[in-house]
């Protein structure tokens, strides 16, 4: 309520003002794995397909396979141990909430925040469909059934344990003299690959930086 605003803030410095409920609602758009932050709403995969084809397919491809170097959204299941893993919603992402949250805040790229909450439910349902996580195009995703969906790779995330790696765990003094037997030999040249953009003949290699 606004009446409270005229009273001094209870903080130590008394700086700032209380946010109005409308202001918090306008910005508090995040969604958590446990469903906290999900808005009222619903949408089917079929509805999502129409929205997707209109707003998303130009970059992400008709089936989420991506155009050019835009992100791939579907497929890649079973590739995480491959030489070139394909990390998608279906193959890699642990939580469905992240799809809803991210599409709502940042997509379509170039016109963020232009979708309705129902649109985002429908798109999320369709992305499940493109990733073979639901098979029925009439599948409807809603605030109510949202947290019942588990993504396939959810259990494959572990907490950071870098400090236990042998090179970090070993705190002995590093070798200073005669640390390796033979003279150094070149095993790989950047100049052979020649992908540095300063050179005239730029060739894009596979992969990139996410």
């Amino acid at each position: 309520s606004l009446a409270a605003q005229d009273a001094p803030a209870a903080g130590k410095f008394g700086i700032g003002r209380e946010a109005t409920p409308e202001e918090v609602a306008a910005w508090d758009i995040d969604v958590r794995p446990d469903g906290l932050g999900l808005p009222e709403g619903r949408g089917t995969a079929a509805e999502g397909m129409a929205i997707y084809d209109e707003n998303c397919a130009s970059c992400h491809g008709d089936f989420g396979e991506a155009v050019d170097r835009w992100p791939v959204l579907a497929g890649g299941q079973g590739t995480l141990e491959n030489e070139r893993p394909e990390k998608t919603i279906g193959s890699y992402w642990p939580h469905l909430s992240t799809v809803y949250d991210y599409v709502r805040r940042a997509m379509p790229f170039g016109n963020a925040r232009s979708l309705s909450d129902d649109d985002v439910y429908a798109l999320t349902a369709y992305l499940l469909y493109l990733n073979d996580i639901v098979d029925d195009e009439d599948f409807e995703l809603s605030k109510e059934n949202f947290t019942s969906i588990k993504l396939p790779n959810a259990d494959n995330f572990i907490e950071d344990d870098r400090e236990s790696e042998p090179h970090y765990a070993d705190k002995s003094d590093p070798c200073m003299r005669d640390c390796k037997p033979d003279k150094a030999e070149v095993k790989m040249h950047a100049a052979v690959l020649d992908v540095t953009p300063e050179n005239a003949d730029d060739n894009a290699p596979q992969g990139g930086i996410d």
């Binding site: 995040d30 992240t98 790229f109 995330f157 590093p174 300063e198």
Partner: protein, 401 residues
Amino acid sequence: AAALAGTGLARASEGEEVITEIQDWNRYPGDGVDARPYGQPSQFEAHVVRKNVPWLTSDSISSINFTPLHELDGIITPNGLCFERHHAGIAEIEPGSHRLMINGLVDRQLVFTMADLKRFPRENRIFFLECAANSGMEWRGAQLNGCQFTHGMIHCVAYTGVRLKYLLEEAGVKTAGKWLLAEGADASAMTRSIPMEKALDDCMVAFAMNGEALRPEQGYPIRLVVPGWEGNMWIKWLRRLEVGDEPWEQREETSKYTDLLANGKARRHTWVMDVKSVITNPSPQAPITHGKGAMVLSGLAWSGNGAISRVDVSIDGGRNWHAARIDGPSLPMALHRFYYEFDWDGSELFLQSRAIDDRGFIQPTKEQLRSVRGPNSIYHNNGIQTWHVDGEGVVENVEIS
């Protein structure tokens, strides 16, 4: 001393014309004090710029460019050269229209203007900011030929701002509040979850860098400062902080910034940037041009765990190591500048540097990292970098035995 013949003397018996003839700048006045209200680098430094690699990303709006480390010295990165990484380009925000909201598990949900933020006690700290994907291309071996490209997603800046703690205390964090979501005002509305312990420890909301207002590409008017932790968490154009009891598992902490291991498992919450160093000179973009004799090797070292206690340099590809000289301020979670002066005999060199931080972590070799993690982690590649120098002083990024 170089023979006079090699110095461009017109007639050696007289001397170099740049000395014996009066040059224009010795005679005619230049620009006055009204010409450059905000100064620029010399026209002769036009090559010292951030560079992007078009094929790395789908377009330039969600992409990166790289700091020209080989052209810089000391530990401060000039504001105009701090690498950029945006997810929806540079948000241009009029500071009078910017707000910072604190919501969630707090006693009072608050809104601050920029003027409000400048009424809290300020502090000044120098920190590096490294993108977790810096050197990411090197997981598969030597690829890009220049430290600007292999290591240039880092900068080090003196920040002025407000301790995040003061802002959170002003709102009153509830007992259940263990995590913080930080959100940006740009068109990607960038978000990251930060554990409350870090938020209350050393995080800042910064409004100035290297003395002046933040640059637009670095989050003007405010960014979050998360010392020692991966750059993606340093939310730019910061508009909202939500206190919660669990992490949010946002796109940038699940799809991205998780480290895929060889066994298909992925590490999450890999926040700290590990102990690391790189030789910036000589390097592929900065060959040795002066021939044999006295030379200065220089580089940068840093660790998200604290200060750097030592840097070793090898000129024979890790067979023998020499303690380098760290010069200038040695501050926790800041860049450290090191030098190693030696006489080059003109023979082939394999240059490497190895940093050790004050928690005792030693920068690993790329082989050590690959043997534990495989080649698919993308992030947190802090392996020892090798530059090959040939007899002409030409330098190349290589992998060696």
